[in-house]
Amino acid sequence: VSVIKAPQLEIAVLVLGMVILMFEAFAAKIDKRILAFAAIAGLVVILVATFFVTPVPAPYQAAGFWNFYTADRLSIFFKQFALLTTILVLIMMIDYAPVVRSSFSGARDGLGEFFAVPIFTCAGLMYLVSAIDFIFIFVSLELVTISFYVLVSFTRRNPVTLEAGVKYLVLSALSTAFFVYGIAWIFGATGQTNLQRVTEALANADTNQSAALLGMVLVLVALGFKIAAVPFQIWVPDVYQGAPTPVTAYLSVGSKAAGFVVLLRVLRPFLALPQMQRLLILIALLTLIYGNLAALPQGDLKRLLAYSSIAHAGYLLIGVVCLDGSAVVFYLVAYLLMTLLSFAVLVIVAQQTGEQISDFDGLGQRSPFLAFAMLIGMVSLAGVPFTAGFLGKFFIFYAAILQRQIGLVVVGVITVGCGFYYYLKVIRAMYWQSTAKLDMIPVTGLSRFAISALIVATIWLGVYPQPILNMLKR
């Protein structure tokens, strides 16, 4: 029996966030980056602690707290996922600090909150992956979303950021409304909010299936917004482009992963209904096609990554359609590694030159290390073997072929071809093109360590996926 219980992890994260905020308020004279280092150190400790937690699924028909909170293997895995993402995002934020500071005038540089808010987002993500009750899902989702409202428009002097913040706020609020409305329908039809009991109620012949289904479709709309699935993806390019880059990375990894975990949990009761699967196939096809085609002409790397994030939601949805949870989870892990790798390089390079792909011209000469990191990130996103991204696609396609989802496979192969084009555009800029600027780009020790670790992890998982597969084994 382990000493640490699962709910203590979230409490620890929340306490850490409070402490950081207190320091921000009362110790005004210190260099604010110390707060970030403290936050990273605290989260690393909690991350280590998660490995000593024994997964305990919520007991059947439990009451009270365990009625809406589970600590099963999947949730523990995703708590680690959320912690790791937050740590890496905080490292990126330290690199990004000069930009934030320059957007504030006067003595207040606002950095303290910039480092503290992600910790609350992290707590929200950790609650969310454990949530097995619609009400609790809603509450923790709101914790995530509201902290993102703050983060997205953090550098508010910049009109582009402000626009992104407003768009995110309005559309996110709209999706929340859909979510609540959907829950109301489901509750009305089944009389339950706990997922387990909803499943049982649905099996009951007396239940009004179509009312529950309508509720589920409304929930799907809200989750489609979170995971950036077509047709709920309109906000993605603008918000991703306008938000501070580390926040964009956080949105595209943390928010999306949480969305998919909730989707996997929430869909389970509705799996038996064939209409649901047809709807999901349609959404997956649209997402794949839209994300990949729209990414083709992009010249702005951040926007390109936004569309690529839509495209990857499409591949993940293939896994969801085929009900292969472990394929989805593996893909999410690969996606975390390669996306954060790309964003980490982008944060550093963009401060020297800019966010256009043409700003990466000649990076191969200027900074071989960053260029190589970006190469691995892009190659993995495109799906070249010996990278985690390839194995992710492999497992997804494996599931799709096993289920004979021919349409998804055909469209998937075509869109992979598109993907090769737009990811290799970045590689082309870095290595083919030459540039007039030849000064080196400085990389701090911590970033160098984080980027190297991500490179190693991307290749390692691409060759030896067994550690993740073992963690997911039931």
Binding site: G364, F372, P385, Y398, I401, V416, F420, I427, W432, P465
Partner: protein
């Protein structure tokens, strides 16, 4: 030892990226890899049918996925080809002005990937190693290519990426087509399952088509060939040597390793389609080759065209034709590498490869002229070169095939038409030779210097290997036939069990010894006819 051959180039490439002296490290690695391959050849036991020098590391027990390497006769032949061509290509590369380290690292990655693919017994790594070449090829053409480099680099990369994903779908389907209990990425296990008839005819047909398209794109099978000449013309010479010489053989190797042994019913079902497509390679692309006005494009198209013969050998699915296909793969790899290497040297000296601007170069570059002539003769398939041995076996193998059915059949028609390919390739090769090396010497080229003695070594090595196996093909046949006999015998018993087989398509010629073959085959046919 097999692991050493695979990882020698890859580790050298990593060392070069980190900062080791590029050319010296690359040369040393290629010499070591070649030496190790020759050691494998020397220690190879010809009579054993199974894989030798097998090493295995488990990756995922529940997926039956492991990193298993080893060689049988077929893969040893390909590994040998890869190491010889790598050595020649790196020697030919010489001094590179721009980013020398990256250039040699890319070459070594391509080589290591190809060797890894040839020596992998595991389906997953077989596929993954081949893809290692994708990004280096993109960079090689994009950074160091000649005029048309941008379009060519995009075309080859997207084409090959889509082709390999189609192939991946085929491989996954193949993995899933055996019963859950015997699912494995190990090719030997799949062969065993196929031998037991566990792959249903329906699955075989689907998988074979996917593999044919996937591999076909990588090999430049007729309607999917347009990337090849363009890319080879734009690529720097060593990259073209590696790609045309080795990488293209990956697809053929894959067909021989997977499609033919595991999917006999599928092969039979799609034979007519394959015959039509390969005639497209031989006749249509052959005529296109004649029309070329530049040496590099001509060589690119000729390499596409010669794939047709090899496909013919594979389509025949008999031991004679298949053995011929392997010999021709080997010989074509050597001869096309020689020709691309020499063309690259010409481009370095003259800056152009347009026929009308060249001419009479044999006067100023006698050695290059001689070597190119030998390479051209080999490519045509003149006796004495290994190409001849391969082509003659393919033609005989393919012609016999239909004959056993007793009527004049599409196989004979295809073989007769394919024979005209020899005439076509004679026309374009000799024409290229005349326009480049014979005739009046253009004033501009008076000052050209011949290959320096150092550069004659790789050319001599390639010619030597071609002549060696041209005069003694038997040593090669002895090496590769055991690998095929394993499944051909398994297939035969399997085929006679098949109620569904289509009499119009492939018939199997006898095993190597042609002695009692007729009698046995005749009996087999009668049995089939009686049903």
């Amino acid at each position: 030892m097999v692991l050493f051959v695979i990882f020698c180039p890859i580790i050298a490439a990593i060392l070069i990226i980190v900062g080791a002296p590029a050319r010296k490290t690359a040369l040393a690695a290629s010499v070591l890899a070649l030496a190790a391959a020759l050691f494998l050849l020397a220690s190879f036991q010809h009579l054993r049918r199974d894989f030798q020098h097998v090493t295995s590391f488990t990756i995922s027990p529940e997926w039956h996925l492991s990193f298993t390497t080893g060689v049988d006769g077929l893969s040893l032949a390909m590994v040998l080809l890869a190491t010889i061509v790598t050595f020649a290509a790196i020697w030919f590369a010489g001094k590179i002005e721009k980013y020398e380290n990256a250039f040699y690292a890319c070459l070594l990655f391509i080589s290591g990937g190809a060797i890894g693919a040839f020596a992998s017994i595991d389906l997953f790594f077989f596929y993954a190693f081949h893809e290692l070449a994708l990004i280096p090829t993109f960079l090689l053409i994009g950074i160091w290519g000649s005029e048309n480099r941008i379009a060519a680099a995009w075309k080859i990369t997207i084409y090959l990426a889509v082709g390999s994903f189609i192939l991946l779908i085929g491989l996954i389907l193949l993995y899933q087509s055996v019963p859950t209990a015997s699912r494995s990425f190990d090719i030997r296990a799949l062969e065993a399952a196929a031998g037991l008839g566990q792959i249903s005819p329906d699955a075989q047909r689907h998988v074979y088509l996917l593999l044919l398209i996937g591999f076909g794109i990588l090999i430049s099978l007729f309607p999917f060939h347009t990337w090849a000449p363009e890319a080879y013309a734009a690529a720097p010479a060593p990259a073209a040597m590696l790609h045309a010489g080795i990488l293209k053989k990956f697809g053929l190797y894959g067909l021989l390793r997977l499609a033919v042994p595991l999917l006999p019913v599928g092969a039979r079902h799609w034979t007519n389609l394959l015959l039509v497509l390969l005639l497209g390679n031989i006749i249509y692309v052959g005529l296109v080759t004649i029309a070329q006005k530049r040496l590099d494009w001509m060589l690119g198209y000729s390499s596409v065209m010669h794939m047709g013969y090899i496909f013919l050998g594979i389509a025949s699915a008999g031991i004679l034709g298949v053995t011929g296909a392997v010999i021709l793969m080997f010989a074509h790899g050597l001869s096309i590498a020689l020709l691309f290497g020499l063309a690259g040297e010409l481009r370095k000296r003259t800056g152009t490869l347009i026929f009308d601007e060249l001419g009479g170069l044999a006067k100023v570059m006698p050695f290059a002229g001689l070597a190119f002539g030998l390479g051209a003769f080999a490519a045509i398939g003149l006796p004495g070169f290994a190409n001849f041995a391969g082509e003659i076996m393919i033609f005989f193998g393919a012609f016999r095939n239909g004959w056993e059915i007793g009527s004049f059949h599409i196989f004979q028609v295809a073989t007769v038409l394919a024979l005209w390919g020899v005439v076509i390739s004679t026309v374009y090769m000799l024409r290229a030779y005349r326009k480049t090396f014979m005739g009046a010497l253009n004033e501009r080229w008076n000052g050209l210097v011949d290959l320096r003695p150092g550069l004659r070594v790789p050319a001599a090595l390639l010619v030597g290997a071609l002549l060696c196996y041209g005069f003694f093909p038997q040593s090669f046949v002895r090496m590769i036939t055991p690998a095929f006999r394993t499944y051909l015998s398994a297939n035969r018993s399997h085929l006679t069990d098949m109620q569904t087989c289509n009499h119009g398509a492939v018939r199997r010629p006898p095993a190597v010894g042609l002695d009692d073959g007729n009698a046995r085959q005749g009996r087999g046919y009668n049995e089939l006819a009686r049903r």
